[in-house]
Amino acid sequence: MLKNLDLYWRIININLKMRNSKTKFTRLSILSFLLVFSSLSLSAQEIDLLLKGGQVIDPKNKINAKMDVAIAGGKIVQVAANIPANSAKKTVDVSGLYVTPGIIDMHAHVFQGNDLGSYIADGQTAVPADAFTFRAGVTTVVDAGSSGWRNFRRFKEQNIDRSQTRILALLNITGNGMYGRFEEQDKTDFNPEMTSYMITKLFPKIIVGIKAAHYWGDFTQVDRAVEAGKLAKVPVMVDFGEHQPTNSIKSLFLEHLRPGDIFTHTFAYGPKDRETVVDDAGIVKPFIFEAQKRGILFDVGHGGGAFFWRQAVPAIKQGFKPDVISTDLHSDSMNGGMKDMANVMSKFLNIGLTLEEVIEKSTASPARVINRPDLGNLSVGSEADVAVFSVKKGNFGFTDVRRNVLKGTQKMDAELTIRAGKIVWDLNGVSGPIWDSPQALTK
């Protein structure tokens, strides 16, 4: 109470100063200020968790500075320099570390199940989200078309509703999602109406877009997906890699997709069935820049077969940067060159993107792409999904999907991950009291 009185006094002083500077204030406005400030001061004393001394990188709010982050009631309540530790129930020293919004991995496969006949939909190639997300700083994944309108409900009940990670989804234009390459060729199963209803009528908060993938034929699948995207007013993500001979990506970008639609596996190299963005001479094809200018979004989707240094390195050198960094996490990518989201982000750090760019392309940018401005930032009032990274210096090696190496000197480690205000990963025990210290519980 004394503290509050002190605060009131200061506020009144501020108001008096403002009056002196010829601003007119009625008594009522002073009173309302007092009420607002008193409620703020109460919450300031009730910070649940204070991350103190870190370098905050929050691209959406244009913050890249040493600041403290205060969390209460599972939400961000303040981001500012020098928030006093005595205003918080628990303070974690994160000095020397980078504090960012919880990472969004826009391309993962987490419809884990035991249908042994299936490839990814309810199959063993999909993986449990929580096993890979928090340890890499990820708090939200977007499942990229594992399910379609016929089996999305099962995905939701079985995996989405039971994960700590926030799982959003792109719904496959194929009714049963990624059941198998054979089933994914069925044109009669590309149903824009049912796909869009699943989004607009049933799950508008979870399904954030449409996926078209693995199709061997012409542009039919993409066009149906775009039709569904128009009906549901959501973006379409295209994996355009299995056409023999290849379909033109210039035509895809300039004639079939809409601004805001997403091309994934941007740096893949399989010229027989997927047209590349960088030509054989190592030059980014001119229409790629045109497409990006038009608003086509380029997603990494690293995966087990879709990231090649000889595409990514020249592209970035020539100024073609991906809009979104993502993993394409599944059981065939997890132990290869991909590993986890922090490793994929580290790759881009070592190719020459700045840390701020890497964070932007893994937080604010994917949030914008999937029309979820509530995510991927540390704005006051947003759900407290936070990642804390260290950037190790040393000699590291990173492989692409053909096991070629790029040597690097920096590697990101997820030190602390917070989901809805709860610590869900703590690599080095920075949030726990020393076991035999007076602060420790009696356990």
């Binding site: 993986v127 090696g397 009291p433």
Partner: protein
């Protein structure tokens, strides 16, 4: 005399041919791990040696094997080369039922956790019982790159839920369990008893009976009985030498009906005196095995630190991997091994307790070593020095200067994990 020379001649010819033959073989090493520090407890190796692999098997372990004899050489100098780790307490009977750790989402597909921490073999600790061991084989064993084994639950339906299924004594059948274990002896290496809350020894004795019939060890997760059963009786009267007490460093605070705090029924360290209880030493002498089984709630500094200080080291390090432990204090086997390093256990002992010791405990002595001719399951670790921290099951931290990281993992001679691209060519 003539025949003597003849024999000598043919003998030297034989030797010459043999020499050439081995030489030709030597030129056909598929993969050579060069310059590392090999720790192989079974073969009493703890020094700088090269490891050669051919046809998925260990071909040779020796100093200075020439690179020219290998198709591919990986420089592992500065790193530790060990047998692939064996984790005898995982929960990998993943599935989609709401069945706790039996065909359920609380159990995890192994490959996402094993290779990245140097593990090549994992034993599921009681997820399956005799009624669903076939499903376990079909869904998990046959679909994992990790070698998957099983401690089969004495409960026929496996670890389906603590409150009901796992209390059903009618579903605990020693004969059927043993019969199924024998039938599935390629994957079943032990019997598990866990979570029993009754105040009687029948389930324990049934598990031991099944173990006796099938000639395999029993692993017990003890301490849920109400009112408590004495740990001393379990170790000295009911279990056999070679049987396993898991969650060795667990300490749960428990209270009686009047809210009075009870001495935990399983704690091996006396909470008041901080001494390892005398009967625990006696049990070790008798041949009982003490397994870590860290899990989400079964490893506490308040038990582990005094026990380690008094020299009570674990026989076996293991994970108790499941969704409740993966993101908490446990994390992965390399993290767990690091904890014991910072508690003062020598690296060679930590490796032995994660390779050769568990191999002996589960009677699979073809595993956990780098003897010539064994399947080439290998882990290569970096021992990082710096400021690290580790948390226990109650969220308490301990700071340390060491951390093990799995750099390279080989299963059957194939690279299945390569953290820093040691085995890969440079990009052209």
């Amino acid at each position: 005399m003539q025949t003597y020379f003849k024999t000598l001649k043919s003998l030297s010819l034989f030797l010459l041919i043999t020499f050439f033959a081995t030489n030709i073989k030597a030129q056909e090493i598929d993969l050579l791990l060069k310059g590392g520090h090999v720790i192989d407890a079974k073969n009493k190796i703890n020094g700088k040696m090269d490891v050669a692999i051919k046809d998925g098997k260990i071909f040779r372990v020796a100093a200075d094997i020439p690179s020219s004899s290998a198709k591919k050489t990986v420089n592992v100098s500065g790193l530790y080369v060990t047998p692939g780790l064996i984790d005898i307490h995982g929960h990998v009977f993943h599935g989609t039922e709401n069945n706790y750790l039996s065909n359920s989402l609380d159990a995890l597909p192994p490959d996402g956790f094993t290779f990245r921490s140097g593990v090549t073999t994992v034993a599921d600790a009681g997820g399956a019982g005799w009624k669903n061991i076939d499903l376990f084989r079909k869904n998990v064993v046959e679909h994992s790159k990790t070698r998957v084994l099983s401690f089969m639950n004495i409960v026929g339906g496996g670890m389906r839920g603590v409150d009901t299924y796992e209390q059903d004594e009618a579903d605990m059948d020693a004969k059927l369990t043993a019969a199924s274990a024998i039938k599935n002896k390629d994957i079943v290496i032990g019997i598990k008893l866990a979570h029993y809350i009754g105040h009687d020894w029948e389930p324990t004795d049934k598990a031991v009976e099944a173990g006796r019939i099938a000639s395999i060890p029993v692993m017990v997760d003890f301490g849920k009985a109400l009112p408590p059963l004495p740990l001393e009786d379990l170790l000295l009267k009911h279990l056999r030498p070679g049987d396993i007490l898991t969650h060795a460093y667990r300490y749960d605070q428990e209270f009686d009906r009047n809210g009075k705090m009870l001495e935990h029924k399983q704690a091996i360290v006396d909470v008041k005196t901080k001494k390892v209880k005398p009967f625990v030493w006696e049990a070790r002498k008798k041949g009982l095995i003490f397994d870590v089984g860290h899990g989400g709630g079964s490893f506490n500094w308040s038990q582990a630190v005094p026990a380690m200080e008094q020299g009570f080291h674990p026989d076996v390090l293991s994970s108790d991997l499941h969704t409740g432990s993966m993101n908490a204090g446990f994390k992965d086997m390399a993290n767990l091994a690091s904890k014991f390093l910072v508690l003062g256990m020598p690296l060679a002992d930590v490796i032995a307790a994660s390779t050769w010791n568990p191999a002996k405990v589960i009677q699979r002595t073809e595993l956990g070593n780098l003897s010539e001719g064994t399947e080439a399951d290998i882990a290569v670790f970096r021992l990082r020095e710096g400021d690290f921290g580790y948390i226990d099951a109650s969220g308490m931290a301990l700071r340390g200067k060491l951390k093990l990281e799995a750099e390279l993992t080989l299963r059957k001679g194939r690279v299945v994990w390569d953290l820093n691209a040691l085995s890969a060519p440079l990009a052209k």
